[in-house]
């Protein structure tokens, strides 16, 4: 999807659906975006092979989170459950496309979730998936991180709370991808009627002024309220406290910034939705 210029263009969107409550928000976000950009929308539901394998093991038990009750797992039941979820996902796609008058397809595949998503995203410009409620330090949330790190396309992680925020935040360092990131952020802010908050890590005033000027060229057409903040470095961009104060609901950043793995780590930790531009 890279066009080489500073405009962020999306033609194909892949949305990962897992039939959980948060995934309906994800699907809706993707559908809205697809309609706004006039992009092709494809859904994917992955039947997690790990779950099936787990269910086939003789000692397989699950502990319910709410009651700590032990429940025996078996393969057929798990398969049935996954099939049901797939059907649910299919229905959700039909509903949203009818509602928004869109065309969308859904493919149901079985395999390792991250790998299947990455494979399916090879032809997409943007992969959208739910952020879920990760438990830090565990395998939970690992998929999102893996996808963030390995996808060739841009990746948007969507949280359940997408309505009540005030601003879209972009980090601008001046490189090409950074220009596209700020352009994407401007588009998102305009579409959602939010404010754009641009953070510029700069070591000197002159740097800041230069980057500030440069970033303004990338905002595109249309009315937009933009606020600029100079920050000392990339670390300072991810201050959760400031984000809460500013009501940031979406963070847009490119993978070309120094320490891209650091950026990914930060993005995975954020409470709000994120968009990593590639």
């Amino acid at each position: 999807m890279s066009t080489g210029n500073d405009t962020f263009v999306i033609r194909r969107i892949l949305v990962a659906i897992d039939a959980t409550p948060s995934s309906s928000v994800v699907l809706e976000t993707a559908a809205q975006l697809a309609r706004g950009c006039n992009a092709e929308l494809n859904g994917i539901f992955v039947e997690d092979i790990n779950l099936l394998r787990l269910a086939g093991l003789p000692f397989a038990r699950e502990l319910t989170w709410s009651t700590a009750m032990e429940v025996h797992l078996d393969y057929q039941r798990m398969e049935r459950a996954l099939r049901g979820r797939g059907a649910h996902a299919q229905q959700a796609v039909v509903n949203i496309t009818t509602q928004l008058k869109l065309h969308a397809s859904l493919q149901i595949v079985r395999g390792q979730v991250a790998q299947e998503l990455l494979r399916a995203a090879e032809n997409a410009d943007l992969l959208i998936l739910g952020k879920g409620r990760e438990v830090r330090g565990t395998r939970i949330g690992v998929i999102a991180r893996q996808v963030l790190q390995q996808a060739h396309c841009s990746v948007m992680l969507v949280t359940r709370e997408t309505q009540h925020y005030k601003s879209v935040m972009a980090i601008f360092t001046g490189n090409d991808k950074s220009e596209r990131a700020i352009n994407a952020a401007a588009q998102l802010a305009r579409a959602a009627h939010k404010r754009l908050l641009v953070l510029i890590p700069a070591s000197s005033t002159s740097d800041y002024q230069r980057l500030h000027e440069q970033s303004r060229q990338c905002l595109g057409q249309g009315p937009l309220l933009v606020t600029y903040h100079a920050v000392t470095g990339m670390e300072a961009c991810f201050n959760q406290h400031i984000m809460r104060e500013e009501g940031v609901g979406m963070v847009v950043v490119s993978d070309a910034e120094t320490g891209s793995s650091l950026v990914v780590t930060h993005l995975a930790k954020l409470e709000c939705s994120t968009l990593l531009i590639r």
Binding site: L54, L57, R61, A68, G137
Partner: protein, 803 residues
């Protein structure tokens, strides 16, 4: 009849000589400071006011308009001013039990202060508390607590994950929870692969997974406890922040009301409640009372911190003197009002409404007996309050156990009150008789006199009373002639030349009406003519029925003769009183006699038109006849007596002398002069006794005679003992002076019969025999003849039996 026996004009009317009144107009007279003619009532009311013991409430009894209210109010004014003002009373929420609101007694004027202070406090807290919770410090501290919880949870799971990973096992999220599975390169090994593992390895994995699951279970079980700990910490933090926000302003109030322990306790309870319900202050905009009603929840409402000031003394001096004009149950004892919300009726302590008893608490409450007694439950509520010495607000429906919905039971307020009931005598006597509580609760009876002695001194004070009333009502001054005329009228109202009426309302009405006529005549001083005009107008306004009856007599529809003489027929006089106006009207009374067994038949009684007093009068006649004329003979007549053309009840014995005259006339065959009318009751000895309304009766006959033309023969026989009651209309007096109309005082039946028939009555000789040419002689003769006739009939009957 001899003209000389009639009363002279001076005896018919006792004038008030204006020359005796030492002033020109009432403007010169000072106000009357004391109350005239009510010494007994005055003493009773003063006693009732002063005595502090319970049950010494006052019942002021007397006819309406006599001035009970103004006398009591006048007497109360001074002691009420002297006493220390009682408390203000407020109802406030009872935070422990909102169904039982607390009553707070506040020094006078402080109630409003507390109410305003509380309103201001809550307004301040509505901004101070959210501000405290929006502070960076609070936010940082809550995040810290939440973060700690999250970290704790994540650390426990991460530790477990770490332990698992060391053994190539991973924690996997399943549709409903978590599970452990052996992994290779991040992927769960397939069941086939697992089967291929050596048995020892398989067992090791299964055991490890079982062990990890046990550990995970322990972690999961701890999570709710950790969450609880987090909530507790947040709650403690909220409390800390709330205390810091609320403490200072409430502390200030506590200092302000430090001398009122009840208020301090209330403020402490308020503070505790605010802190406990701090979320209400934080989420004010979310309050949806309607929804709360439907869901049965209590919406955050700040009404509970309001102060319902039910009794406010303000800057009044002394204790209250309150007259409750509409003493319904709720107006007396207070009420619980309701508001309709979503179809339900709701109430709370702010809807408690004070009654007259609350407002008069500490002072005096004046009530009309008739009004209290005719309002449902009011009398019982009043007695209950006085007896229990506390004011308890209970809705009527609960009192009657009609409904049992949840309602309020406000804390009772101690009652210290003196109740003064104003009512007429009948009500007082009925209550004494039929209400067993009454004598305990209203021990002081203030009985109002309807008349006072007419002396030069009392006339002078009466003039002062008139002066006071004219000034109070902004009337023109009355000159001495006008005052004299009013005094005469008052005497007439009292029905006694030696008395003056104390009926203040009538006096006040006459003053205002006289003033009206003076105004109409553009006079600046009210004269006797204006007073007379007012009296005549009053008479005229009320006299429709009288004129109708007089017209009936004039047309001959009602048969009344004023000339000639008829046997067994006499003009009796009756009085009709309607709507406070009384007038006299003549009635034809006739008697017929024949042989009989000594019975005197009163036709009125036979048809139940005669009242008991009337019947008594007639029965006396039999006694008189028997003893007077036939002491040693059987009374062998049958006499019938009737009030001709009477179509309603006849009551009173004032016509008994007239009936006796008719009877004697019938027996003696002596015609009675129809130019005379008769009033007076008679006893068995033939003495004529006093009757009431003598003036009205005389005037009633005079009016008829006047219409037909006064002949100089006409007149009225009145009991001699009624002379002192004569205050006749001027035209009657004038007619008597000119010899056109006569008032004959009569002491005995003999005297009356002589006047009516022109025959001497006759005195008995030593044997009790009357001379033959006298009335009594003829009566005796007739009775003797009847007795003999009866005897002969009896003998004839016996002869027949012998045969």
């Amino acid at each position: 009849m001899t003209q000389g026996e009639g009363l002279n004009a001076d005896q018919l009317y006792r004038r008030c000589d204006p020359a005796q009144l030492p002033f020109e107009t009432t403007a010169e007279l000072p106000d009357l400071t004391e109350i005239i003619g009510q010494e007994r009532a005055l003493e009773a009311v003063r006693f009732g006011i002063d005595i502090k013991n319970s049950g010494y409430n006052i019942f002021a009894l007397g006819p309406p308009g006599i001035g009970k209210h103004s006398l009591v109010a006048q007497l109360l004014a001074e002691p009420a001013q002297r006493r220390t003002p009682p408390s203000d009373w407020c109802y406030v929420n009872n935070f422990d039990d909102p169904r039982r609101p607390r009553a707070l007694a506040m020094p006078p004027g402080k109630g409003r202060l507390l109410r305003d202070d509380m309103a201001r406090l809550i307004e301040d807290l509505k901004t101070a508390i959210p501000a405290a919770f929006e502070s960076d410090e609070y936010r940082a501290r809550t995040q810290e607590i939440e973060e700690e919880f999250k970290e704790r949870q994540e650390k426990a799971i991460a530790d477990l994950q770490h332990q698992a990973q060391e053994k190539d096992i991973d924690l996997i999220r399943t549709p409903a929870g978590f599970a452990f599975a052996p992994t290779r390169k991040g992927e769960v090994i397939s069941p086939e692969e697992f089967e291929r593992l050596p048995e020892a390895e398989r067992e090791r994995i299964a055991a490890t997974v079982a062990n990890l699951q046990e550990k995970l279970r322990a972690v999961i079980r701890q999570v709710p406890q950790w969450r609880q700990e987090m909530r507790d910490k947040i709650r403690a933090l909220n409390r800390e922040v709330a205390i810091s926000a609320a403490e200072h302003p409430i502390h200030n109030l506590r200092d302000k009301y430090a001398d009122l322990p009840q208020v301090v306790a209330y403020l402490e309870a308020t503070q505790e409640n605010i802190i406990t319900n701090i979320d209400d202050f934080r989420q004010q905009e979310d309050a949806q009372p309607g929804i709360a009603v439907l869901t049965g929840e209590h919406a955050p409402s700040f009404r509970r911190y309001e102060v319902n000031l039910i009794v406010e003394r303000g800057n009044e001096q002394g204790v209250p003197v309150l007259y409750e004009n509409n003493p319904t149950y709720h107006n007396l004892a207070g009420a619980l009002e309701h508001v309709a919300m979503m179809g339900a009726l709701l109430t709370d302590f702010t809807l408690i409404k004070a009654g007259a008893l609350h407002r008069a608490n500490g002072g005096y409450l004046l009530l009309d007996a008739h009004k209290v007694l005719t309002q449902a439950f009011a009398w019982e509520a009043l007695k209950r309050a006085i007896r229990s010495k506390e004011l308890r607000i209970e809705p009527v429906e609960r009192l009657l156990s009609l409904v049992s919905t949840v309602s309020l039971e406000p804390e009772p307020i101690p009652l210290d009150i003196k109740v003064i009931i104003l009512g007429d005598r009948l009500l007082y006597y009925l209550l004494c008789e039929y209400d067993p509580d009454f004598a305990d609760l209203f021990k002081v009876a203030a009985d109002f006199e309807e008349t006072l002695e007419r002396t030069p001194a009392s006339q002078q004070r009466f003039a002062q009373l008139i002066a006071t009333m004219t000034r109070k009502n902004h009337l023109n001054p009355f000159n001495r002639q006008a005052v004299a005329r009013i005094i005469e009228h008052s005497s007439r109202m009292s029905g006694d030349t030696r008395k003056l009426s104390t009926h203040l309302r009538s006096v006040a009405d006459l003053l205002q009406e006289s003033d009206y006529y003076a105004h109409a005549a553009r006079a600046t001083t009210v004269d006797a003519a204006h007073v007379q005009q007012a009296i005549d107008a009053q008479e005229r306004r009320a006299s429709r029925l009288k004129e109708n009856l007089q017209e009936g007599i004039q047309r001959g529809t009602i048969l009344i003769a004023t000339t000639g003489a008829v046997i067994g027929q006499v003009n009796g006089l009756s009085v009709i009183e309607m709507g406070g106006y009384a007038f006299g009207i003549p009635h034809r009374i006739t008697a017929r006699v024949r042989l009989g067994e000594g019975e005197v038949i009163d036709i009125e009684r036979e048809v139940e038109l005669g009242g008991p007093l009337h019947s008594k009068g007639v029965l006396i006649l039999g006694g008189f006849l028997g003893a007077h004329y036939a002491a040693d003979l059987p009374l062998s007549l049958s006499a019938s007596l009737v009030f001709e053309q009477s179509y309603g009840q006849v009551e009173g014995d004032s016509a008994s002398s007239a009936e006796l005259y008719a009877l004697l006339s019938a027996l003696a065959g002596a015609p009675i002069k129809q130019s005379l009318a008769v009033t007076g009751s008679v006893n068995q000895h033939g003495e004529i006794q006093a009757i009431g309304a003598v003036n009205e009766k005389i005037e009633g006959f005079f009016d008829i005679c006047k219409i037909r033309g006064l002949t100089g023969e006409q007149g009225v026989l009145i009991p001699a003992s009624n002379i002192a009651n004569l205050m006749l209309r001027n035209e009657v007096v004038e007619a008597a002076k000119n010899g056109l109309f006569h008032i004959f005082p009569v002491a005995t039946v003999n005297h009356g019969m002589a006047l009516l028939t022109g025959f001497p009555a006759g005195e008995p000789d030593a044997n009790g025999v009357y001379p033959p040419d006298t009335i009594n002689g003829r009566v005796q003769e007739r009775l003797k003849a009847l007795a003999q006739l009866r005897q002969s009939f009896a003998e004839h009957g016996r002869d027949k039996e012998d045969l």
